[in-house]
Symmetry: C2
Subunit: 100 residues, 2 copies
């Protein structure tokens, strides 16, 4: 199991432009057969800070997502409005509270 | 609904010391009546980078968590082993793909 956090930082004046692109990306990604979770949130203190919380069965599924038509078409359009580089965290280990 | 990402950055030599503290914190928090989700992950590239992905009904529930006995006892013990300040994102809005 692979959990992913991907953060985008969008220029304030571009937020209304990227929102429909994000909506299309989320809708298309949720239809990918290997997608377990792909939810997009906004920082309550910074409306241009978009945060994806994703879950994939494995790295191959994430790679397939990044190679999809919708990803390759929409992400460059979104990135044109970035104010700084995106930030990614890949997590494949969950701390289990039941192991003493 | 409130989603939270909380990131801790622990010194490499302290990871084995903090792991049981994190396990106790996760186990106790999951028993809080208002806790919807409280899962702790580790960055696959940085074993001292711990990431909580949390969900609470509202800000009052998060405040109650931060005032709990287990939080006030365990978090300062964990923070003694931090190599830099924690990072928090609070998100109260999800981008809905169904709104065209």
């Amino acid at each position: 199991m692979l959990k992913v956090i991907a953060e985008d930082f969008i220029k304030p004046e571009s937020v209304d432009t990227v929102l429909p692109l994000y909506r299309e990306l989320v809708a298309a990604t949720k239809k990918e057969p290997l997608c377990i979770a792909y939810d997009l949130y906004r920082d309550e203190k910074d409306p241009g800070h978009f945060i994806f919380i994703e879950q994939w069965p494995d790295r191959a599924a994430l790679d397939a997502h990044c190679a999809s038509e919708h990803f390759r078409r929409l992400v460059p359009l979104i990135d044109q409005h970035a104010r700084k580089d995106a930030r990614y965290i890949l997590m494949n280990e969950q701390v289990d509270p039941d192991i003493a």
